[in-house]
Symmetry: C2
Subunit: 468 residues, 2 copies
């Protein structure tokens, strides 16, 4: 492998071929620090041509490649296994914004651009890049595309897939596919773009993309309402969509226990209600007219929902600071949960109409097997996507509970499957769920996927052991 | 082949295996009646299982399959060649609406459902199916999916691709892929759905789909404005998007000559303006609040555009009948053009920001080669999609002009390519453009597509000679 590494050094410079453990550590440990792999080297090319060159060398020497962006993934998709035979190919030096076209409402960005940076760049051009997620300060757009990231604005703007018009990809063979089109309509052949999006780096390496932009809304207003059941939340969702159309940009469900944990571990945060309610919904309107107009819409909605007994109470933010405070409650759930101890997380989606039944049936099953386990149920209800997390009963040590993770997963994911749902709504399969998915996907579907993998990466060099 | 046909008869019934010319004619002639192919037989299975059975037989006997919906395609994608060796597999008997889930905002429909029928069914559930195009009374949803149809509401709701959540597909091997998921988020592997969508039946046969529905707007209002240049239209588009956000559901450009032809050939239709203007834009707002609110938005927009000299005049429809009359002008352009004589049509897209330059440069090139040729330029400006059609100079017989179609196409499509556009925005490649596309797509892209085709249809039985 010395010859391979020397060729890499010649191609991209010795400084960018990392082989010392101290240098490679950050690239081989996953975001949640649950797994540490090993890499032959970490390669940091600076351009699409250098990426293509590196992939060509990997073909020549039959070296497996783990493409990596911000390494913020949650399913071990961006770290190498512990064989030490693969290289990590970091895209972070491909970090140029190549072009912003405000009239076409597009920006052309390299894969290694940090999401928050391109959000800012869009804003400076008076445009909105709606993709937004917890790790936006560290994750890269290449990673967002490769995992088809979701986030908080999917209800209105779609997943990362829906935000991408074109791609530049280095194929498994080391060629560059120039698909950087900024077109809303193009029916000239197979949809290669969507095949590379969400492929978790197993079919090729996304090096740049054309991303859709939107006009900035004139106002954003938020309300937190209290209600009795998830079914009431669904009725409220339908009412909000009928009243507000595409202005409804977020609709987030939180169970009482989720918000209770935030209050317990972050006592300095103001709790919106004096008494506890069974469920809460955080909803957000983005308005193209004015703050006043948004306020009126939100007030009308809340009034009608109260009138129809759909909600028990409501807090409407009347300032940006109040809106921020309500979002903060939602965004502190994960941290509050971590402060409470270990728990078992699920990133699931269900047809929206079945969410109420799914929650009650699955809660009941879990209570049968783990009496008094505590449900931290929250998430993007408007997308049918729940973070359906399970904390141990108060008297059970969390380490003991975690040992039974497989049992918990089986109950939850079998239930998801009965409702025609997905066991990975946002996060992908990576190395973590690629075995589990075999329980739920048909052989026919797996074989179609394998056929595509073999066709586009016949040597199985692209992120082997992930997704498939 | 007698044995093959007998097996088909046994499987789907003799009545549904058509072999007489009188019976098969409608299935082998294309929509514009420019081409007549020949089929070994037309097969009309009634269910997904029967489709799978037929495909299995075709595999056994190595018979090529041309899947067909409403046969309304414009690029010879749904008719067989003249060898007489392929069967046409008509999906029209798979015409059940399997389910409407108003809370999940989805409907599950079989491939052979007529688009207008499922629009009506959605409406009866107080939902909107936004896909709408000229042939909606005849085309099927399976065909819409296989060609990724566009239509008049793409600006707000996307192409057919964006309206589909899940598919059921009979693979080239005759197996059934059950991918009928009604989920907004699902990151569990390669995006097979989008690979089959737009594949023009060359990778498998779509037999059913889960389609997204939306709340019905409370009001739709339309305005026709007159303006000087396409660049002014683009500025108006940006202004309308900033003011109206997602309420802007249509933004259609029409050149003066387009509207002039409508006036000439349909004199009974009321012309909106006393004098001629260089360009017109038809814009539509769909409002979730009220007609009054939409009217106010539209008035404000028109007032600001007049104030900034972006537009020369405006007619705002104040009733549904007036709205209809304005849309009628737009929808009669194709017929008016046909009444005027033969012309050469192009279905192109361009990054929106370059539309003005594209039109002026390409108009100039055409005038150089065909002095006094007449441009019927109209289309979905908001999507960057123009029907950039060329009528012969008044003194040139249209048959003479049509003989030089290849020259005209070359000028237009080379220009499209220089601007990073697409030579088939809505219609697909079919048999008509599959050679031409080779001039504009890289070998790398073509090879990726060929690799996928070979992987999923190794015997090349699925609509051979189309797309690739």
């Amino acid at each position: 492998m010395q010859e391979f590494l020397d060729s890499c050094r010649k191609l991209i410079g010795s400084d960018h071929v990392l082989t010392q453990d101290a240098d490679t550590l950050a690239f081989v440990v996953d975001w949640r620090q649950r797994f540490q792999g090993k890499a032959l080297a970490v390669l940091r090319p600076a351009s699409t041509a250098e990426v293509a060159g590196v992939v060509t060398l990997c073909n020549q020497f039959r070296v497996a490649i783990v493409p990596q962006g911000g390494n913020t993934g949650l399913v071990l998709g961006s770290v190498p296994d512990d064989s030490g035979k693969a290289v990590v190919l970091s895209l972070k030096r491909l970090n140029k914004i190549r072009r912003i076209d405000a009239i076409n409402n597009t920006m052309t960005v390299e894969a290694g651009c940090i999401l928050a940076d391109i959000q800012s760049a869009a804003e400076q051009s008076h445009r909105l890049l709606p993709l937004s997620l917890a790790s936006e300060g560290s994750c890269t757009i290449g990673g967002n595309l490769s995992t088809n990231a979701g986030g908080t604005a999917v209800l209105r703007y779609g997943n990362t897939r829906e935000l991408c018009l074109g791609l530049e990809v280095v194929t498994a063979g080391g060629e560059v596919w120039e698909g950087l089109r900024g077109l809303r309509k193009d029916n000239t052949g197979y949809d290669l773009r969507d095949l590379f999006i969400g492929a978790e780096g197993t079919l090729g390496i996304i090096t740049a993309a054309v991303i859709k932009l939107f006009p900035q809304p004139k106002a954003r207003l938020t309300a937190l309402v209290a209600l009795k059941t998830p079914d009431d939340a669904l009725q409220l969702l339908a009412m909000a969509q009928a009243h507000c159309g595409a202005s409804l940009t977020a609709f987030e469900l939180m169970s009482d226990f989720s918000l209770h944990l935030v209050g317990k571990h972050f006592p300095q945060m103001q709790q919106p209600y004096a008494r506890r309610h069974a469920h809460y919904v955080l909803l957000e309107l983005s308005d193209s007219e004015s703050e006043q107009h948004a306020g009126q819409l939100l007030e009308n909605l809340v009034a009608e929902a109260l009138d129809k007994d759909l909600i028990e109470d409501a807090v409407v933010a009347t300032s940006l600071a109040q809106s921020r405070a309500l979002w903060n409650l939602r965004e502190h759930i994960s941290m509050a949960q971590a402060a409470e101890g270990k728990n078992i997380k699920h990133d699931i989606s269900i047809p929206i109409s079945d969410i109420g039944r799914f929650i009650s049936q699955t809660d009941a099953l879990l209570q049968q097997h783990f009496p008094a386990c505590r449900m931290v149920t929250f998430g993007h209800l408007g997308d049918g996507n729940l973070h359906y997390n399970v904390s141990p009963p108060e008297n059970m040590p969390d380490t003991l509970f975690i040992q039974r993770q497989a049992e918990v997963n089986l109950i939850v994911h079998d239930s998801v499957n009965r409702f025609g749902g997905s066991i990975s709504a946002e996060h992908g399969l990576g190395a973590l769920k690629k075995e589990e998915i075999l329980r739920y996907k048909s052989d026919i579907e797996m074989n179609l996927m394998r056929a595509i993998k073999t066709a586009l990466d016949p040597q199985n060099l692209m992120n082997p052991g992930k997704l498939l």
